[in-house]
Amino acid sequence: MLTRVIGRLKPLILGTAGTVFLASCATNAPQDTFQPKGPNAQKIDSLQKPVFAVAGIIGLIVASAVVYSIIKFRDKGQPIPKQSHGNPALEITLTIIPALILAVVGVFTFRTVFDLNKTSDTQMIINVTGQQWWWEYDYPTNNEYGITQPIITSGQLVIPVGTKVLLRETSRDVIHSYWIPALNGKRDAVPGRITLNRIEADEPGIYAGQCTEFCGLSHANMRMEAVALSKEDFAKWVANELKPYVAPAKDSLAKEGETVFLNQCTRCHQVNGLTREDGTPVIAAPDENVWSGAAPNLSHLMSRNTFAGAMFDLLTPECRSDVWKSESATFGEKYLAGVSEPCLNQTDLRGWLRNAPEKKPMYANPALLADTGGKYRGMPNLGLSESDIEKLVAYLLTLK
């Protein structure tokens, strides 16, 4: 009904709301809240657009009445007006009208709230864990989608299109909030609680998001992206994630990198299947050096194209825009190609390895860590030599 009324008032609404929205729609910002790309965000959008229009109209009415009064009743030497104290009938009418408008809005709000909280037809569950200042995704086994073993990734959430995905969110430290505007509104990730958030994407593509609950120093740098792949592509992605570890060839630079990695990085980072020389598997978790107990799992680092809380691209800008702007049809293919050496964003990755806290503010300075028992939040500066970095980069490139 609301929509029908709105429909009839269309010209007026377009006129008023247009000014506000014109700028909004023209610039194609990646986190625009008016460009839903999935049914959940769509439901919100269908609710909010009419509300914005109503609000715009009311605002215009008030402003016009004030402006009219200013012009009409300015002091032109007229006598002091009659000291009338009001008009209860008018008053009551003008109280009831807004109440009615709001009642209508209320009904639709009510419906949408429950609609968006429906979880009974979920097809895929992904556990999402916030941590200062990145997101971890953990896919429980799901035979329907070929996830025969749990998958753990970070930064980019990969989902199949047209699938009702339920995010079970929590946090390991402070409150964060998961938000991919094109897919749904925000839902806080609260430590000690599990909150539910449902997303579904209509088309393949990359959808930008951002942590929106203030979570300390690098809150501004806690970004994320949702990557929607066609079902077939998603299956390929899963297969890749489940691929066993491939050790670098003997005597390669990467092999030397593996050694550095074993010495420096595995105390925090997990690479599935990585073993020591004697064949014992290397298990980083539970991670004792980081306050919240975990660092990103790097097993398939090169299959995602951002790192460090999606603050940096793992791809060079050219390669990245190639993926981002690709046609829906070719998107999956390009995304699944992962990061290859020519496309690797060497500057930021090397900078990160050289001195992570300088690239991203983190409580990683031992001098400030007395209160946490010397535990890092974020990744510390490991004081690596340039040649170690060289080797590490070569090694990381093998983590397809």
């Binding site: 610039t27 807004p98 000690g192």
Partner: protein, 652 residues
């Protein structure tokens, strides 16, 4: 001014210390219990903190003007917005409204002072010391950095290891005590100290709105007191109230904060609603349209405001039932607020409008607050709010209601009541510049934030990145720059005000007795009022008593002037009361208040210091208790021996 200085020569005390006997120089202010002096001190303090908070805001805007801003680092930025909000909310708007309430409520209801004058002084000093205490953290290892609602567990000792949050929590505790004491004081004053005939429904609307506000304070402050205590016990004494590892639920903090926090936003806005409800009728030459509706809608806002707090938590996973309920209750609040907007507009309607600076600010409030209120209604639609929350769209909402609403109302009050408080008129021309720069600046600053937010720029980001700014000329980079330029225009606007005050103080125009043709009781005395406010307490027969003493309807139903303000005042003077006892100055309020920051410092740094602070508090409470509020008869000058010489200043 005749012998105002030696009017209340105080007595020798019955307490432990002698009463202050000098009422000149700085002591006149430091030991005063006069509600008008205290009101001015509140306002001066608030103004100072406005500049501090404004400076912080400008630094924020400079940092965000361009992508990857380098003016502040992440740590400093987080402190900056936390302290900006804390300063503006708790140390600027609240004290400023307390200043107005202090100064004008007794005058508007025809009283000579507040019910508890020494508590009034105590409240002011506690506020000042609390405010300074919070800001002390800047120099002692960094200010609070958790955002103004300080969500747990990010505010806990592990995630915020500096002492900033300790200073914040304890400092707000101190200002909270000040607010609570002030609220009780003013409620009793309004209920009990009204002039004869001043029925509740004849009270000026500013007094009414302040009454609602004081009730909100009285009942909301204890809630944040609890929250702050829990936080301090966690940070300083090892409790685990918000420590998830021990099984705590971080949402407890959110509930406690917002149960306080939502009534708080009405605490911030209702005084300004009150102010413009005084200003609009005066400059429309017409009574407030629908006075009872404005009164009751104010009370309704105060009441419903208690049932909506969880609209700040729509994204926190409350569950659909709670979300739906709080969503609807939030919408309900738009109805009484709408009543006010309607009544103000209808007050203008058919009036004879005089566009003084005060009037301009008041009209500005109607329009700009409505914009902010309407964006509030778009938040109240919970599903939409999950897109909006924690983006700049929220920042836009609350700056429109806070700056476009509360602050414009306060400025309206400055221009309207300046002659009353200081006997001089603020310059109208500078006032006009002040107004236009501020209104343009504020729309330029906060208007683009609607777009920024709806296009996905989250708040509380020390940097934003070109990457997510979108394409085209009108992208987020453009709007961020506009907002930052706008804030500089705001600075100029504020600057005009400061210049205006300065010039007026130096050489301003002396105000006539009734410069605006005012309507309410506070104008029925000299400018500035005498220490005892009224020579004789007027008997009230009308809403807008003063107006009705000046004007009457003639046979044709035309309003005609029947008396000048001077004549009205003369009449009061002629019937002056024989002797008037005013409360006497006292050392105790400031000493007692001083014990509070000492104790708080002790909580942070060393227990013996806290005990020392406690001793100061106890000692001064005793001294206070032993000291009569008003010095005994015999200590008065002039003695109360039936002579009628007292501070009567003849006007005209």
């Amino acid at each position: 001014m005749a012998n105002i200085e030696n009017f209340a020569t105080p007595s020798s005390a019955m307490g432990a210390l002698k009463r202050p006997v000098v009422t000149k120089g700085w002591r006149e202010w430091v030991f005063t219990v006069d509600h008008k002096k205290l009101g001015i001190m509140y306002m001066a303090t608030a103004m100072f903190f406005f500049l501090v908070g404004g400076l912080e805001a400008v630094l924020i805007r400079l940092q965000l003007a361009l992508p990857d801003g380098k003016i502040l680092n992440a740590d400093l930025y987080n402190q900056m917005f936390t302290m900006h909000a804390t300063t503006m909310v708790f140390l600027f708007v609240m004290p400023m409204t307390a200043g107005f309430a202090n100064y004008f409520i007794p005058l508007q209801i025809g009283a000579r002072d507040v019910a508890f004058p020494r508590i009034n002084a105590f409240s002011f000093w506690a506020l000042l010391f609390g405010g300074l205490f919070i800001n002390l953290s800047w120099f002692l290892g960094g200010a609070a950095d958790g955002g103004w609602f300080m969500y747990a567990p990010n505010s806990g000792p592990i995630f915020s290891p500096s002492h900033g949050v300790d200073f914040w929590a304890l400092g707000l505790q101190i200002t909270g005590i000040a607010s609570l004491a002030g609220a009780i004081n003013l409620i009793v004053t309004i209920l009990n100290m009204r002039a004869p005939g001043m029925k509740l429904m004849r009270m000026p609307i500013f007094t009414w709105m302040s009454l609602v506000v004081q009730f909100l304070l009285a009942f909301a402050v204890p809630v944040i007191t609890v929250a702050l205590f829990l936080l301090s016990f966690q940070r300083n004494y090892g409790a685990t109230f918000f420590d998830v590892a021990s099984g705590a639920d971080p949402l407890l903090w959110q509930h406690l904060f917002w149960i306080f926090g939502h009534p708080e936003v009405y605490i911030l806005i209702l005084p300004s609603f009150g102010i413009i409800s005084e200003v609009l009728p005066v400059f429309s030459r017409k009574p407030l349209f629908g006075y009872p509706f404005v009164v009751f809608s104010g009370a309704a806002i105060g009441f419903v405001g208690w049932g909506v707090w969880a609209h700040h938590m729509f994204a926190s996973g409350l569950g659909p039932v709670s979300v739906a309920v709080f969503s609807i209750s939030t919408m309900a609040i738009a109805v009484p607020t709408g009543v006010k907007i309607v009544n103000w507009t209808l007050t203008l309607w058919g009036g004879k409008l005089w566009f003084t600076t005060a009037m301009k600010f008041a009209i500005g409030l109607i329009v700009l607050f409505t914009i902010g209120g309407l964006s509030g209604v778009t938040h109240s639609v919970a599903p939409s709010d999950t897109q909006q929350t924690d983006t700049y769209y929220i920042v836009a909402h609350f700056h429109y209601v806070l700056f476009g609403g509360a602050v414009l109302g306060l400025f309206s009050g400055f221009y309207y009541w300046w002659p009353k408080m200081f006997g001089k008129m603020l310059n109208e021309k500078l006032g006009s510049w002040n107004f236009w720069f501020m209104v343009i600046g504020l729309n330029m600053t906060f208007g683009p934030m609607h777009i920024l937010g709806l296009q996905g720029q989250p708040r509380r980001m020390y940097q934003w990145t070109e990457n997510r700014a979108g394409e085209g000329f009108f992208n987020l980079a453009f709007w961020n720059l506009v907002a930052s330029i706008g804030s500089l225009i705001l600075v100029i606007g504020v600057f005009f005000f400061l210049v205006n005050v300065f010039i007026t103080a130096r050489s301003g125009k002396v105000s006539p007795l009734d410069p605006w043709g005012a309507r309410s009781l506070e104008w029925m005395t000299s400018n500035p009022p005498k220490e005892h406010n009224f020579d004789s307490i007027p008997t009230v027969r009308h809403l807008d008593e003063f107006f009705h003493r000046k004007y009457a309807e003639d046979a044709n139903g035309q309003m005609q002037q029947i008396a000048t303000a001077e004549e009205v005042l003369k009449q009061l003077e002629d019937n002056a009361d024989a002797h008037i006892h005013m409360p006497s100055p006292s050392y105790w309020p400031i000493v007692l208040a001083f014990g509070l920051p000492i104790t708080a410092l002790g909580v942070i740094y060393s227990v013996p210091l806290a005990i020392f602070g406690g001793v100061i508090i106890l000692f001064s409470a005793f001294g206070w208790a032993l000291e009569p509020s008003t010095a005994p008869d015999t200590d008065f000058d002039p003695p109360s021996s039936g002579d009628t010489s007292k501070d009567v200043v003849h006007v005209g």
